[in-house]
């Protein structure tokens, strides 16, 4: 075992993240050069230092970068971080590799509540993330309750997730029928899209995601213990109920915040943790940051491709991700199981 292997992977992922970040800023219906991007990003500093001798210093590309692209790219980054780490947590607390914000219905729960927020509190910026959080929390709790009332097996959890998920999807569709004037584009919301995001939609979710993720890093050890099974975790002195519940709240914040601005993005929460398990092993201390980096890369890149492929038309990021992610995940599943990696 080479000790520095995860380190190398982190370096590569980080470089990829920065590259994709810049690439995403460049491409779109208008292509902007890297130089203009630097100007747009740091132009403010230059402007201040060179006093106010040139009022028209802010060019069109600066406006595009600052008010459209930058929020959108950040949204992709945040969505990737939030969903991928929520996936790691859900897989951990349910001890189930099939769990993910999408498969167990957390996303639908958040989505349903976002729809409610749109319906009853239109135009309130704080309402969407808060409702999304409440929705994902209620859904996760409901699934836990169902599974605990049943036989607590892995199958029951997934079945409970599917049941709750389809129940909530029905709710989403009902609202769609009742109120056709709802202020979001339902189709893009359901597949997940980053189009039309502005900075104002992002502040609250961004704070939520960043804080939840940082707390999560402190709970990585506890997450590792849960993987040993409840009985062993308990006899090692872990309070499993408190731990599960805290992790549950954090994953609900992460998934809920993402749904509030990006809609029901699927796939990231399920496949990114799986890919990262193959890259750095099952140690949550490595798995969480790795999933966050890869998740960020994946969503930003998919969104950038969605803007490029049929330019000037856009494909929602959710569609691109399913098209890339699906076959790639199949490939991973079918690939020989040998060459397991350790987290020693």
């Amino acid at each position: 075992m080479k000790k520095n292997k995860p380190f190398t992977i982190f370096i590569i992922l980080f470089i990829a993240l920065v590259a994709i970040f810049i690439f995403s800023l460049c491409v779109g219906s208008v292509n902007i050069s890297a130089k203009d991007i630097l100007n747009a990003l740091f132009g403010k500093l230059i402007k201040i230092s060179s006093s106010n001798n040139e009022p028209s210093a802010i060019s069109a590309s600066t406006i595009i970068i600052r008010s459209i692209r930058l929020p959108r790219v950040f949204a992709g980054l945040l969505a990737g971080i939030g969903l991928a780490s929520a996936g790691v947590v859900l897989q951990g607390i349910m001890n189930n590799s099939l769990a993910g914000p999408n498969t167990i219905g957390v996303n639908s729960g958040a989505g349903f509540f976002v729809m409610l927020a749109m319906l009853f509190l239109p135009g309130k910026l704080w309402a969407t993330p808060v409702f999304a959080f409440i929705g994902s929390l209620i859904t996760t709790l409901a699934i836990f309750l169902l599974a605990y009332l049943g036989d607590r097996s892995r199958t029951t959890i997934i079945l409970a997730g599917i049941t709750v998920s389809s129940f909530l999807s029905a709710g989403i569709n009902l609202i769609k029928l009742l109120d056709t004037d709802i202020s979001i584009n339902i189709t893009t919301f359901l597949v997940g899209s980053l189009a039309g995001i502005n900075a104002n939609n992002l502040y609250i979710p961004a704070i939520g995601i960043v804080i939840a993720f940082i707390i999560l890093l402190f709970l990585a050890k506890a997450l590792n213990m849960l993987a040993l099974g409840d009985e062993i975790a308990m006899s090692l002195g872990l309070n499993i109920n408190v731990t599960r519940f805290s992790l549950l709240i954090l994953s609900s914040i992460l998934a809920g915040c993402v749904v509030s601005f990006a809609g029901l993005l699927s796939f990231v929460g399920l496949i990114v943790p799986h890919i990262c398990r193959k890259l750095v092993g099952n140690d949550a201390k490595l798995l969480l940051p790795c999933s966050a980096l890869l998740g960020g890369c994946f969503v930003m890149l998919s969104d950038a491709l969605g803007r490029v492929i049929f330019a000037p038309y856009e494909l929602p990021v959710g569609i691109i991700m399913a098209f890339i992610g699906g076959p790639f995940f199949m490939y991973l599943l079918l690939k020989k199981k040998g060459g397991r990696r350790l987290n020693a």
């Binding site: 062993i232 006899s235 090692l236 002195g237 099952n282």
Partner: protein
């Protein structure tokens, strides 16, 4: 000294054991035997917290054990359940490191002393050669020792395991038993659930015989044999063979 006083235990919402009284002396090996479903595992789960003690008290040297915080409990007593379900993809060393969890906190990270204990535990459990191998790729016997290595890293005075030898071949069973014998020599108090009566007779200072969720007897092997209690409970006969050093038992 570990002491159960009128202990009743429920798993889930099902009451399984009632009014259990039991004393285990320090620095001994106690084994629990009994037919399947007699409540052996439940008896020990009362200690780990996976089953609930509904009435009565469990004392360790006059301390009310169940009133302690989970980490404090884990420092005092380690319980290795039967290993079922999925085996995590962890190296043996990482698994052993988990044994130090009760001693770590937000402010305290593993230090040189912890790593010394981890190395020592892997040595005692005979898994040092497998330190970097993944637990899920190991054979049953070595895997069991890897889990025992984690348990030993907990460095607790009471070392408890549920059927640590079940499903293992004879050499692996001998390895496991000898690890726990060494623990006794190191001053620990060992409690094991065993299915092999002959093994229990040869290794124990005290045997607890259970049947139908009750403790039938708790005594030394010699006394139990004299009174034919084990033979009655299991409906078997026990033959003894002696050579210069040891006594061997055969159950037929």
């Amino acid at each position: 000294m570990l002491k159960y006083e009128n202990v009743s235990v429920s798993c889930g919402h099902t009451p399984l054991l009632s009014n259990i009284n039991l004393t285990v002396n320090d620095n001994t090996i106690t084994t629990v035997i009994g037919p399947n479903g007699c409540g052996k595992t439940t008896l020990l789960r009362a200690l780990s917290g996976s089953c609930t003690v509904t009435s009565g008290k469990i004392y360790i040297d006059d301390t009310d054990y169940l009133s302690l915080k989970p980490k404090k409990r884990a420092q005092l007593l380690s319980y290795l359940p039967q290993i079922r379900g999925t085996i995590p993809t962890l190296s043996v060393k990482t698994l052993t490191e988990h044994g130090r969890f009760p001693y770590l906190g937000f402010t305290r990270k593993a230090n040189a002393e912890d790593y010394r204990i981890i190395e020592n535990s892997m040595n005692l459990a005979g898994v040092s050669d497998y330190a970097t191998q993944s637990v899920d790729t190991l054979s049953g016997g070595i895997r069991q020792r890897a889990y025992i290595s984690m348990q030993l890293a907990q460095d607790s005075s009471y070392v408890i395991a549920d059927e640590p030898t079940t499903y293992l071949d004879i050499p692996s069973q001998k390895d496991v038993i000898s690890i726990y014998r060494t623990q006794k020599e190191l001053g620990k108090t060992v409690i094991l659930v065993l299915h092999d009566i002959a093994q229990a007779l040869s290794v124990s200072d005290q045997i607890i015989v259970m049947k139908d969720r009750k403790i039938i007897a708790a005594d030394t092997p010699a006394e139990l044999l004299k009174q034919h209690i084990i033979e009655d409970v299991f409906g078997i006969q026990i033959k003894e063979f002696k050579d210069e050093e040891n006594t061997y038992y055969l159950c037929v």
